[in-house]
């Protein structure tokens, strides 16, 4: 199975080579693999409907990361949609995109890559595998919706689709990890067999649901789907009708056997699914763009599917699988119809289309077949599914869970009424003669566009007329749910179940739905008066804009760009983190002496006085001399401490530092404040407060270091680890001077590192200072080859 998925991706990567020669050939080649997938799926029909066909490739065992696949009934149905419809839509695309279309190479490759990712997703039996392909489909969708990014609508829609689905995807990933870690496995079949319990798992389940809801465009995340209609119609037909948007539903279908009885699972699914179904249906009634009408129809149907898959009811799950198949088989051809209408008339606007039923009779018949299936007219697949769905909830309401059963049954009935109404509206909008509208004179559509449309529409009719065929697919899936009574155990799809409540529901739905369509003007009026204060689309925009504003504000506050502020924060952090630790955990040592050697006092005094004077001086040269005094004073302290080597180095280094300072100071102004004059003059008063704060902060930090030194050195329990060894082994190193032995022998690497730093600093200094010469000539930093030569010496 992995090979099949990889083949998709590899061929997709190579496809641009083909499309350079011929765009149509590229689509043609692309269509082969999905078709082969369909054939492969049916070749393993027995295994799929029986025990299932499994394959596992370990990616990383340390992370429990596996590519685990399993072909079962649900997978097979999805293969029909992904592979079968995929092949049809790719064939359709070959004619939809022109021979020289600039978009064709990209679309052929991306559509095929998407097909591969989707295949991986539907076959995944491992939550992490599922997630891998889940995000891949999101990325493919982003690129397919965005196209070349030339149009604002495409860009916006692509970004929205990506952000919403990835938001869900990431929540889902976290959920997957929570569930997987509490279950000890990421295998879906194993998790479902022994569902994990506990807070972590419950959170995980809820998070996984977020992923499913966003991907399947459930309220309140649904607006990305209608927006994504900015994509070319074949893309909409494939991704946003037939396959990708089903991913969330499929995920719910995969996990429901384990979790359907938990409130945190079924309540959100039922509530949001139902709400989505109603919102989608209602909005579809008012769209004037045929494609957007279908998009809201898809939203509505996805809500329906969500409710069914989450029901955890045997009959409901039979209905779910049937509707899943039915939806693909009617929604894809409907999109293809819109694409053809758009192509031959140049518009998809309800108000501009008239008389097409005579202009395109063949297409009209296909559209009627598909729309009727959507409306749930008998002899079509949609009818079988809807009947089963009504049966499921009516049965539930009658026998064991009245509240849940009846609410859902009546909700679905309302949704179905809306479905019938917008199906009728679609047919009317696309093909009817409209008074006052000039009949459109369409061009003849290419056969390559018509054949796939017809094929898909007829498939719905054929399957609708032979219920046992679908039943054979649906029953094995529903077997995962135990039957509560004989009715459930015996239920199977059929065209005629006798006069029953579900049949009545179907009739009511059709009748009221058609009535709604007839009274469409009044409904439109009602829609206008019901202004929505809460628009999900507006919500998305507010959130994104708010995020960007927050980002700017937070960054503006935090990243002020001022060095003194940065250093101040740094000191504050030192005071807060280690400072508190010192206050709470430190103890002042008891046997502390005032001074160890009397000589320390005058030397220390020199250092202290020079340091304090440093804060007051205004002349740079004086400051440098004071620094020198500090340095020599410390050198003196080193002598007192018994560190002549250190003192020697300190004296020499201090001298050299002084020389370097003097060299540079020759060119700088004599006083600190002689530059940047305006700043100081204008800001003298407020600065005093700032200076005060700086002084306090610096003092506290300085005292902290000193106190930490005293406290920590007082806490020492053991003698130095190596010092005795140094003295003992110095003769081995051939040196009487232990310091020298450490520097060039015991810790010679430090010395090598130290001279390395010296070299770097000297080279850098030369490069910097000598660059000045080229500044005047070029007005910019250190000229190139000449500067390098100059630095060379």
């Amino acid at each position: 199975m992995l090979a099949l998925v990889v083949a998709h991706l590899v061929v997709a990567a190579l496809l641009p080579l083909v499309s350079r020669r011929s765009r149509r050939a590229a689509f043609g080649i692309a269509a082969v693999l999905p078709a082969a997938t369909l054939v492969w799926g049916f070749a393993h029909l027995g295994a799929a409907l029986g025990p299932g066909l499994e394959e596992t490739v370990t990616w990383s065992s340390a992370l429990d990361l596996e590519l685990g696949f399993r072909l079962d009934a649900l997978g097979l149905v999805m293969i029909v949609l992904v592979g079968g419809l995929g092949a049809l839509i790719l064939a359709y695309s070959a004619w939809y995109f022109g021979k020289d279309s600039r978009d064709a190479p990209r679309n052929s490759a991306l559509l095929l890559a998407f097909a591969g990712a989707m295949l991986g997703l539907v076959l995944a039996d491992d939550l992490l595998t599922l997630y891998v392909f889940w995000e891949l489909t999101s990325i493919a969708s982003f690129l397919l919706v965005g196209q070349g990014g030339l149009h604002r609508a495409n860009r916006r829609a692509a970004v929205q689709a990506l952000l919403v689905t990835v938001l869900g995807g990431l929540a889902m990933l976290l959920g997957i990890v929570f569930v997987g870690e509490s279950a000890g496995t990421y295998r879906i079949s194993e998790i479902v067999a022994a569902p994990p319990v506990g807070g972590l798992a419950a959170t995980g389940i809820a998070l996984i649901l977020v992923g499913a809801l966003t991907k399947s465009a459930q309220a309140p995340f649904h607006p990305w789907l209608p927006a994504a209609m900015a994509a070319p119609t074949p893309v909409s037909a494939y991704l946003h009708a037939a396959s990708m948007v089903k991913a969330g539903v499929v995920l719910v279908g995969r996990l429901s056997p384990g979790f359907a009885d938990r409130a945190e699972w079924w309540v959100p699914i039922a509530v949001l699914g139902l709400v989505t179904m109603l919102i989608g249906g209602w909005r579809a009634l008012h769209e004037t763009d045929l494609k957007r009408l279908l998009a809201f129809g898809t939203v509505s149907q996805l809500g329906f599917l969500m409710v069914l898959f989450g029901s955890g009811d045997r009959i409901g799950e039979v209905a779910a699988l049937t509707m899943l198949l039915a939806h693909g088989l009617f929604k894809a051809p409907l999109f293809m119809v819109v694409g053809i209408v758009d192509k031959v008339t140049g518009t998809r606007e309800v108000g501009a289309l008239s008389g097409l039923r005579r202009g395109l009779p063949g297409l009209a018949v296909a559209a009627v077949l598909a729309a009727a299936s959507m409306a749930g007219v008998p002899f079509l697949l949609g009818f079988l599914g809807k009947e089963a769905a009504f049966e499921a909830f009516v049965h539930q309401g009658l026998y064991y869970d009245p509240a849940r059963g009846w609410v859902l049954a009546l909700g679905l009935l309302t949704g179905s009424v809306l479905t019938v109404a917008y199906s009728a509206r679609f047919l009317w909008g696309a093909f009817a003669d409209k008074p006052g509208v000039e009949p459109v004179d369409p061009k003849r559509p290419a056969r390559g566009l018509l054949v796939p449309t017809w094929t898909a529409a007829v498939a719905g009719l054929v399957l609708g007329c032979v219920p046992p065929l679908v039943n054979a697919l649906a029953q094995p899936y529903a077997d995962a749910y135990p039957a509560t009574d004989a009715t459930e155990a015996d239920y199977h799809l059929a065209l005629w179940h006798g006069f029953s409540l579900p049949l009545l529901f179907s009739v009511v739905a059709l009748a009221v739905g058609l009535a709604l369509h007839v009274g469409r003007d009044r409904i439109t009026g009602l829609h206008r008066t019901l202004a929505h204060p809460l628009s999900a689309q507006r919500g998305y925009e507010v959130v994104v804009a708010g995020l960007e504003r927050a980002a700017t504000q937070v960054t503006g506050r935090v990243q002020v760009g001022s060095l003194p502020v940065y250093l101040g924060v740094l000191l504050c952090t030192v005071l807060v983190l280690p400072g508190i630790a010192l206050l709470t955990g430190g103890a002042w040592p008891r046997d502390q002496s005032l001074v160890s050697s009397l000589l320390q006092l005058p030397l220390g005094l020199i250092v202290v006085v020079a340091a304090l004077a440093l804060t007051r001086v205004r002349r740079r040269f004086t400051a440098v001399l004071l620094v020198g005094a500090i340095g020599y004073g410390i050198g003196g302290l080193f002598v007192v401490d018994g560190a002549p080597d250190l003192a020697l180095a300190q004296f020499l280094v201090e001298t050299l530092t002084l020389v370097a300072f003097v060299f540079v100071l020759r060119r700088l102004p004599a006083h600190f404040d002689s530059d940047g004059g305006t700043d100081t003059a204008s800001g003298n008063r407020p600065r005093r407060g700032v200076e005060m704060r700086k002084a306090v902060l610096a003092t506290v930090a300085g005292v902290f270091v000193a106190v930490a030194g005293v406290v920590l050195s007082g806490a020492r329990q053991q003698p130095p680890a190596a010092s005795g060894e140094f003295v003992a082994r110095a003769p081995e190193a051939g040196a009487d001077n232990v310091i020298a032995a450490i520097l060039v022998d015991f810790r010679a690497l430090d010395t090598v590192g130290e001279i390395t730093v010296l070299l770097i600093a000297a080279a850098g200094t030369a490069s910097l200072v000598l660059a000045t010469r080229f500044d005047r000539r070029r007005k910019a930093g250190g000229g190139t080859p000449e500067h390098e030569k100059e630095v060379l010496g």
Binding site: D342, T552, P564, R716
Partner: protein
Amino acid sequence: MITINVAMAVVLAVLYSVGFYLLLQRSLMRILIGIVVLGHGANLLLQLAGGPPARAPVLGTALPEEFADPLPQALALTAIVITFALTTYLLALGYRSWVLTGRDEVQDDVEDRRVAERERPEGSMEEDAEGPDDEEDPGSAAASDRTDEPAEVSGSGAAR
């Protein structure tokens, strides 16, 4: 066991305080001097971490028990050299900064200021909502292939 005596603690506190204080200034020269002072403080602390004054650790000049702890001395020596190297480098950088900008102050970051003064980032997605509308409806067939065959071409669909 070894404790830093009060006098040295005061010296350390003063050195670090003055170093930190100078570091917080805007004048580059002062910052530089602050770093030098801090370096002195750190080296002194390192040396003091070895213990109270004792004899220089040269064999034959005293008994090994009288020696000062040699390791902090060696470490401090390395640290002194490294601090010196970086100080000269920073001096050169200061000089160059002065040559280039003509001032001794460390300026604030321009880009940070710019970000802080904006309401919303410039590359904001929201900007997409403004400006002129696209001419074509992107989802339509017309948008997805510009150069169609004549038999199938549908012209520009002004579908709004």
